[in-house]
Amino acid sequence: MATHSKRPKLAVWKFASCDGCQLSLLDCEDELLAVSEAVEIAYFAEASRAMQKGPYDISLVEGSITTPHDAERIHQIRRSSRVLITIGACATAGGIQALRNFKNVKEFTRTVYAHPEYIDTLKTSTPISHHVKVDFELRGCPINKAQLLEVIEALLHGRKPNTPAHSVCMECKLAGTVCVMVAHGTPCLGPVTHAGCDALCPRYNRGCFGCYGPKESPNTHALAAEWQRLGAQLRTIRHAFRNFNAWAEEFRKESEKHEP
């Protein structure tokens, strides 16, 4: 179904994931129709039966690589995409399903499935950037939909997306939120976690649990020591770094220091 539109062609792809990050685009209730005017939604299976062939100007990729088939598929998508953007913790860090990387996947398959021989899965869940060149990574579990719009808009105007790379800790300070760790002794990953959620958890009286993954050069070691001082057990610290961004290098390395 060839069209001759001059608008950039957008495609949305899914790998192992919960669908939440691509849902963020449909959750842009006020902007969705405007977005569909500005770009031509050429492939977005969750939203449309119309599936145009590539090449695409922008590909948004959700999910991590966990099967031999998907490890092939991502290369095809890269070849047909001018710009490839990964959205969310699964695509940028392997997601929560990367917890398998620390364990024996055969044991996992046996736990869940009666006939593990039917299941074709890789030993690891890995981010898209481990397989192909990625032009921009948008963090978060889930992503922040305002940031998604910012990234699309920036691309359309040929500028760099304005998505701050500082920590959640900084977002708290900017919002004037009282520090949960200093004021209440609540363990918080805010100092080492990438911004993007507007420091949501501290506003709800809980510590950050790392949805956006490590910020650049995080001092995880010092933070883990502070958690210990607050009484956190080895296991608690290990698990705190092993959630949705467990396979992001800085979080993985810190978690490995707290093995029993």
Binding site: L23, L33, G95, E107
Partner: protein, 429 residues
């Protein structure tokens, strides 16, 4: 008839990845298989060893569309295990949160995923070109649902404010009051949605189903109740595994659920409506009567009207909960870890969602079991397709294919929950 094959590489407008294979000889449907090859993610396995307090945050990640359902089934199972019952204003807040999820999830399906089939469009965006006011109404209605989830849960997708025992922070009166205006609009929009969906054209297709849903003595079921069926099943949640079983078939990474000795059953809006009609808000019943939707409704294509009725109910109830909100004294009941086994079952937008957890004395998960609604409906989706294809053999391939897709979408299947990718592959021989 010569052997024919129809292939769709990716079934659109469902959440996830799966395929369908229909094989028939002459006028005999030989085999229908809903193949799900969503990559498995092994939640039950990696929950092991995690502290019970972390469970709601982890299981939310099973599904971006209905994370609240996963969080609710989990907290109920864990609270049951630890011998605690959440009541009063905290319980009301949870119900409000669930209303929000029903609204956003149902409206997404009605307007964006299902209605385009009835109207003959590829997508809601294509519908919007001709009927902008309809799609805009849908988007604004969805937004009203998301606003509830965001206010109570912290954000729409993977809410952060839910923990066993209650919440991390209770919303203020002003925060909830701010939702009221939009909810009044939403209730009116839901009425319009019921009328609009009832005016769509429905295939003459009825089947004899065993419907399964929760039932609660005082309310339309969401968080609590007994598991009942249209064939007389009436059991407590912790008896679930005595009556239902899962089997693993080669063509699916989702497990198939059946009622022991009875086979496929149907969960979701149609089942809830048929089994709990009397508990619907008066305004929802009134509209059902107005549009001629009686019980039992055995036409799965009409699930789109039933979803609209449930949206209306949820808007009405959410408005009542917002107006009567009393700030809970504490955000949560403090829970002491303890060993045991707990069961939870709540009504996700797509139907009953069963969880079982075993904890050790430190409160660490020893074992977890999760049965999502889509894996329970998988058998019935296949049964419907078998029947539908048999009745519509005369249709040209492209129309038959679209009808099959529409029929699958009757169930709003969430394959990312059941594990994602639907590939339609019809073979005629």
């Amino acid at each position: 008839m010569s052997r024919k094959t129809i292939k769709v590489d990716y079934l659109a407008r469902v959440e996830g990845e799966g395929a369908l294979h229909v094989h028939f000889k002459g006028d005999q449907v030989k085999d229908v298989r809903l193949k799900i090859f969503e990559p498995p993610r092994f939640f039950e396995a990696f929950l092991r060893g995690r502290n019970f307090v972390e469970v709601p945050d982890i299981v939310a990640r099973i599904c971006g569309i209905c994370p609240v359902a996963y969080q609710m089934s989990a907290v109920h199972a864990l609270e049951g295990l630890l011998g605690v019952q959440v009541k009063g204003p905290l319980r009301a807040l949870r119900r409000l949160l669930y209303c929000g999820e029903w609204i956003e999830s149902h409206v997404l399906h009605i307007y964006m995923l299902h209605a385009p089939d009835f109207l003959g469009y590829e997508s809601a965006i294509a519908v919007a070109k001709d009927y902008p006011e309809i799609v805009e109404r849908g988007l604004r209605l969805k937004k009203a649902g998301n606003a509830i989830v965001r206010t109570v849960g912290g954000r729409e997708i993977h809410p952060i404010n839910i923990r066993p025992g209650g919440f991390y922070r209770q919303p203020t009166k002003a925060e909830l009051k701010a939702l009221a205006e939009d909810l009044k609009w939403a209730r009116d929009a839901a009425i319009e949605t019921v009328r609009w969906t009832a005016g769509l054209e429905f295939p003459d297709f009825e089947r004899d189903y065993e419907f399964v849903a929760l039932r609660h003595p005082d309310e339309y079921p969401m968080n609590e109740g007994r598991i009942v069926s249209s064939a007389g099943l009436d059991i407590a949640v912790d008896e679930y595994e005595n009556y239902f079983e899962e089997s693993h078939v080669p063509h699916s990474t989702a497990l198939h659920s059946t009622l022991k000795g009875r086979g496929s059953y149907l969960v979701g809006p149609l089942a809830r409506f048929n089994l709990n009609y009397h508990q619907l808000a008066p305004i929802a019943r009134e509209l059902a009567t107005e549009v001629g939707l009686g019980t039992p409704c055995n036409n799965p294509f009409k699930s789109i009207i039933v979803r609209a009725i449930e949206v209306l109910h949820a808007c009405d109830e959410a408005l009542r909960l917002v107006e009567n909100y009393e700030v809970p004294e504490r955000a949560a009941i403090e829970l002491e870890p303890g060993a045991g086994t707990g069961h939870g079952c709540t009504e996700a937008p797509r139907g009953i969602l069963y969880h079982r957890y075993q904890l050790d004395e430190k409160g660490l998960v020893v074992e977890a079991r999760i049965v999502p609604p889509t894996s329970q409906n998988q058998g019935m989706i296949e049964d419907d397709l078998r029947d539908l294809v048999a009745r519509n053999m005369a249709l040209p391939d492209d129309e038959l294919q679209w009808k099959c897709e529409q029929s699958i979408r009757n169930y709003d299947p969430c394959i990312s929950c059941a594990t994602h990718f639907l590939k339609l592959d019809v073979e005629r021989s």
